[in-house]
């Protein structure tokens, strides 16, 4: 029987709560057929459930453990992730706790040799990056999950076997009260880097593993440094290696350093070794203050992805689908983009309004994104932890040059997780895409716009096809409402947003009116009167027209749903 430890995990700043196992109906002889079962209650699994629930799709979430994440793990969330989290309503609590930042510093021989500044804009509700421990993020998402009647959390439920046929996936689940069988139309594997579902289905990942190993240690200490990322190259106490420092809420600092060649994780995590190295790092940055360890772990840099994220009726997402180096905050931030891409497609397929091709476009778009990330992350990893003599020489030469030559700055590879674009997606319709002078092109996520104080475009987007309509005539608006009614009758979710410089006194009830008297949004989107953007439920643009053609809009939606 699966008996996870029921003692709350130890932490010097986070109060863990143990969630009880509750006996599912299947153990009392009830045979239920679920539409979606999600394995893994990490951020990606729970976000998938919330996103599906917004489309009215119920799900069961199985989690082998009975508490949120052990240790801080993913601590940096990008603006794009915040937009994804906003869609399911969990950003308010994140903003109360998380630390926003936009700058990174690279130090070498006591000098700041490169300073990265992530672009910020008043048009975004969110700053470029936020630091927050994963436990908090999971807690906030979980709170939202608990409020949903469509999501059933099953704690202390460990998947022991996975089988599938043409119509269903069958799971054997072990619990504190014994095993039971569970059947579902679809299974979403969000069970992390060591995914059991992935090995049970014999799925092999492709890519490379780097030899370097790294310690992550979270300490509580009073430090005066601003919330900026700090990278120390070739420090005297750890020659040739790299040390990273990051501020987290609750006065916690993440210290991340590479292990000397040949050292085992056990040796590296020994109390004596941790104390000696953390003290050496603090001494190097001129700090002599008491500190206390919260959590530590060892990781290795790997760049791996499954070649296909759908295997029959099982769909992989997050770290279960790919393993990416943490340099560049590419783990959870990539997973959040995955599950946002997946949920609406799976939901519309389950509802019978879209073909299987739509679900497969999740795989093609996100495998492509993972390959781009692997390429970018590989560059960061090769700089942080050079894998060969040649790479080490080039890295050392770059560090040496950086003391005097600015041109080597970009070689520090500060690139971080970004919103991925799908310019070649089969879901796109060319229409007038190429002739727009500005604005997000096909495949790109919509760009947020500040409409007025504390009022942004993304606040008005639904988990639906969002149609941005610029200064339509009353007749055109009427035509679009007819289209909306027809599509809604087919259970296709449509949100009409009328961006207007002449706000109507009495707005149409089924249309969200966005007032743009200054024309700021019109100009950012390269739009004239009658222009239209069609964005998918995950905010990515699928088509845009300089002037409205209702039949063409309908056709572009049909193309996405594979009904053309």
């Amino acid at each position: 029987m699966h008996q996870p430890d029921t003692t709350p995990r130890h932490s010097i700043y986070y109060d863990y709560r143990v969630y009880p196992f509750s006996r599912p109906p299947e153990m009392d002889g009830h045979s239920l057929n679920h539409q979606v079962v999600i394995v893994g209650a990490g951020p990606i699994g729970m976000m998938t459930a919330l996103n599906l629930a917004q489309h009215g799709i119920p799900s069961v979430v199985l989690e082998a453990d009975n508490q949120v994440s052990h240790g801080s793990r993913a601590i940096v969330f990008t603006r794009r992730s915040m937009e994804i989290l906003q869609q399911v309503g969990v950003t308010a609590r994140i903003l109360e706790k998380a630390l926003p930042w936009s700058r990174g510093n690279s130090f070498y021989r006591g000098q700041c040799v490169f300073r990265m500044e992530a672009p910020d804009t008043p048009d975004s509700r969110f700053r470029p990056m936020y630091n927050l421990q994963q436990q908090y993020l999971e807690e906030y998402i979980l709170d939202q999950v608990m409020h949903s009647e469509l999501i059933e959390m099953r704690w202390a439920s460990k998947v022991m076997a996975v089988e599938q046929d043409d119509n269903s996936v069958h799971l054997t689940v072990d619990t504190p009260e014994g095993e039971y069988r569970l059947t579902s139309d679809w299974l979403v594997a969000a069970d992390g880097a060591r995914s059991f579902v992935r090995s049970a289905l014999n799925q092999r990942m492709e890519g490379a593993s780097y030899s370097g190993q790294f310690v992550i240690a979270d300490i509580r200490i009073d430090l005066d440094f601003p919330t900026e990322r700090r990278a120390y190259f070739d420090p005297e106490w750890n020659p040739g290696n790299t040390v990273l420092m990051h501020r987290e809420p609750d006065n916690i600092w993440r210290i991340d350093y590479q292990l000397p060649q040949g050292e085992t994780p056990e040796q590296a995590l020994s109390e004596a070794s941790l104390h000696q190295r953390i003290n050496a790092q603090l001494k190097m940055v001129g700090i002599d203050a008491p500190w206390e360890l919260d959590w530590c772990s060892v990781y290795s840099a790997r760049t791996l992805t499954l070649p296909d994220y759908r295997v029959g009726r099982v769909v992989f997402t997050g770290d279960a689908a790919h393993i990416l180096p943490i340099f560049g905050v590419r783990g959870a931030n990539t997973g959040l983009q995955d599950c946002q891409n997946l949920a609406w497609k799976l939901a519309l397929h389950i509802k019978g309004v879209a073909g299987l091709d739509l679900v497969d476009s999740y795989s093609s778009e996100r495998v492509q994104a993972a390959r781009e990330i692997i390429d970018e992350a590989g560059k960061s990893t090769r700089f942080m932890a050079p894998p060969s003599k040649g790479y080490r020489l080039l890295r050392d030469a770059t560090l040496s040059l950086s003391l005097q030559k600015d041109f080597v700055g970009p070689l520090f590879h500060w690139r971080t997780s970004r919103a991925h674009n799908y310019p070649d997606s089969s879901l796109n319709t060319a229409a007038d895409n190429a002739v727009f002078a500005s604005g997000p092109a096909n495949g790109m996520p919509l760009e947020n716009i500040q409409l007025s104080e504390n009022n942004y475009l993304f606040d008005h987007l639904d988990n639906a096809f969002n149609l941005l309509l610029f200064n339509l005539t009353p007749v055109q608006l009427d035509q679009m409402q007819t289209l909306q009614a027809n599509l809604r009758a087919e259970e296709i979710p449509i949100n009409l947003l009328h961006v207007t410089s002449r706000p109507a006194e009495q707005a149409e009830p089924s249309v969200t009116q966005l007032v743009d008297i200054s024309g700021h949004m019109r100009s950012a989107y390269g739009a004239g009167s009658g222009s239209v953007y069609l964005a998918r439920p995950d905010h990515h643009v699928a088509a845009r027209w300089l002037s409205l053609d209702v039949a063409a809009v309908k056709q572009a939606i049909d193309n996405i749903l594979n009904k053309a």
């Binding site: 050392d396 770059t398 040496s400 080597v408």
Partner: protein, 60 residues
């Protein structure tokens, strides 16, 4: 445009590089890589640089 060095200039480069390498001592490899990166940046011609990298791998 022929941007090759004149023989006299090439000779000066030859001598200066030799002496700089001696001066770099045990760090001569690191020194050469710094020089290569600086010169690559100065040319502003990535194709020509990559071509030189390929050519110089021959006959080692």
């Amino acid at each position: 445009m022929n941007s090759n060095l004149r023989p006299q200039e090439l000779e000066s480069v030859y001598d200066a590089l030799a002496e700089s390498l001696d001066q770099a001592g045990e760090q001569d490899r690191l020194y050469l890589v710094k020089v290569a990166l600086c010169l690559a940046n100065l040319t502003g011609d990535a194709d020509a640089v990559l071509n030189s990298f390929r050519e110089c791998l021959e006959d080692l």
